[in-house]
C-alpha cells in the first residue's frame, strides 16, 4: 500500500491534472443515443436489418451537412447499410442477370456500372470458368466456407458496416463473418506482393472529401459474389468513398485483374446510415457448430 501511495503522490500533480481533464470531458454527452434496452431489441423496427429481411435495401433518408473530424476530414463513423438498385442482392450477384433468375435469386440489375452492359469483362477462358463454376462447383462459393470476403465483396455483405476513425487510420468492421480491415492513412508501403491475405492489404488517403482506398495482396480463393464471379490473386481494387450528406455515402470501386478480366471494371452504389438506435452489431460465429452440411446430405448438390 505504501509503495502504491508513494507512486500516486510522486505523480500527484500530473495525475490530478490528467484526472481533472478526464472528469471535465466525462460530462460531454454521447454522440449517439443509447439503444433501447431490454427484450425485443429490434422488433418492430422499419429498418430491414432489424425486421425480417436484412437483404432488402433501406430507404434513402436525406441528412444534414457532412460531419467533420477535428482535422477537417469527413467523419464517416457509425453504422451503415448498403443501398443498391432495388435491394441489397449485390452479395448474390454483382452482374446484371439479363432479366433471368441466377443461382436461385430473382433477376437483378446488379451494381456493375462499367462496362455499361452491366457485365464483368471476363477473358474468354474466364467466362467459361465462370459458367462452369456456376453450373458445377457452387461448393467453392467462399462465403459458404466462412472465408472473409476480401474486396469488393465485403463491402456489400448483409448485417451492417461499421466505420471507426482512430487517429491516422480508417477501420471498417462487419458483423458478417466478423470481418475487419485497417486502412492506414500515413502513406506506409503495401505489404510484400508475395503475401496474400483474405482481406487483402488496404492503404488510404483523402482526395478532398473522398477517401481513396487501394487494395492489393488478396488471395485468389474468394469470390466477388455468390454467383461464381471470381478473380485471381492479381486482383487490384481502388475504392472511392464520398459522403453526400450526414446520412449517405457514395461508393465506387474499380476492379482490375490482368489474369481474369480484359479490362478494369467498375461498381457503384450507396450507403445509408443506420438511423435506428436499436441496431448493434452482433456476434457471427461461422464455422463453430454449423449443421447445414449434415442436413444437406439429403439435399442434392447445387447444380
Amino acid at each position: 500500500m505504501k509503495r502504491i501511495t508513494s507512486l500516486i503522490c510522486f505523480e500527484r500533480a500530473i495525475c490530478t491534472v490528467a484526472l481533472a481533464a478526464a472528469c471535465l470531458v466525462q460530462t460531454a454527452p454521447a454522440q449517439t443515443p443509447a439503444p433501447a434496452p431490454g427484450p425485443g431489441r429490434g422488433v418492430g423496427s422499419t429498418n430491414p436489418l432489424l425486421n425480417g429481411n436484412p437483404y432488402i435495401s433501406p430507404a434513402e433518408v436525406k441528412g444534414g451537412p457532412v460531419k467533420r473530424l477535428p482535422d477537417g476530414k469527413p467523419d464517416l463513423q457509425g453504422y451503415w447499410s448498403q443501398r443498391t438498385i432495388g435491394n441489397s442482392m449485390s452479395m448474390f450477384s454483382v452482374q446484371q442477370t439479363d432479366g433471368r433468375p441466377a443461382q436461385g435469386i430473382p433477376p437483378t440489375k446488379g451494381i456493375v456500372v462499367d462496362p455499361p452492359d452491366g457485365h464483368i469483362p471476363y477473358q474468354d477462358w474466364a467466362a467459361k470458368k465462370h459458367d462452369d463454376l456456376g453450373a458445377n462447383h457452387m461448393i467453392e462459393e467462399s462465403d459458404a466456407s466462412c472465408l472473409p470476403g476480401g474486396f469488393p465483396h465485403s463491402m456489400y455483405t448483409p448485417f451492417g458496416l461499421h466505420i471507426i476513425q482512430p487517429p491516422g487510420q480508417v477501420v471498417m468492421t462487419w458483423e458478417f463473418m466478423h470481418s475487419y480491415r485497417v486502412i492506414p492513412l500515413d502513406g506506409r508501403p503495401h505489404v510484400s506482393p508475395a503475401t496474400h491475405l483474405y482481406m487483402g492489404d488496404s492503404r488510404g488517403h483523402w482526395e478532398g472529401d473522398t477517401l481513396v482506398i487501394d487494395v492489393t495482396s488478396q488471395v485468389g480463393r474468394t469470390w466477388i459474389d455468390q454467383s461464381a464471379d471470381f478473380h485471381s490473386d492479381a486482383i487490384h481494387v481502388v475504392e472511392r468513398i464520398t459522403p453526400i450528406d450526414s446520412n449517405n455515402l457514395s461508393y465506387e470501386a474499380t476492379i482490375e485483374d490482368p489474369k481474369v478480366y480484359t479490362r478494369p471494371w467498375k461498381i457503384a452504389y450507396f450507403y445509408s446510415r443506420i438511423l435506428d438506435a436499436k441496431y448493434e452489431p452482433m456476434e457471427f460465429a461461422c464455422i463453430e457448430g454449423e449443421v447445414d452440411n449434415t442436413v444437406n446430405e439429403r439435399v442434392p448438390a447445387q447444380k
Binding site: G52, N53, G86, Q103, I139, A144
Partner: protein
Amino acid sequence: MGIRGIITAAGFAVLLASAPVWAHHSFAAEFDSNQPVTLTGKLVKMDWVNPHSWVHIEVVNKETGQPEVWDVETGPPNTLYRNGWRKDFAKPGDELVIVGTRAKNGTRTANARTVKTPDGKTMLAGSSENLNAGAPSSAPAK
C-alpha cells in the same frame, strides 16, 4: 515461428480432417414458394448456428399416423434475435406451429416463414424467401 510451436503435428492432422466445408444455397435453389407447408408438432431441438439456424420438430404424419422429424431452416441467429427469438423460446416437447415452404427435393426439410410458440406469439423466422418481394423493382424494364 512461435505460433506454430503451439499446434502439434497431431493437432494439425485433426484440424485438417474435421474442418467442415458446406455448400451455401439461396432460398429459391432449395425451397419452393409454391409448396407451402404448415407443420404442427413438438420441438425436438434447435441449433443456433450460422448461416442458418435449424429447428427440428416432430410431427405426426397424417397418412401413416407415425411421428417423423422435420428439419426446418430459419435465418441466422442474429436475424432471429432481432425478430424476438430468445434461446428459451420453447422447451423440447413444446408445441410449435411452423408455416413455411417445402424443400424442392421432397425430403422432410422446410424453410420457415413464421414460427408460433405455445404462448401464442408468432415470430418471423428471418427467411430469405422475402427476397422475392424485392424482385419487381430490380427486374429490368421490358
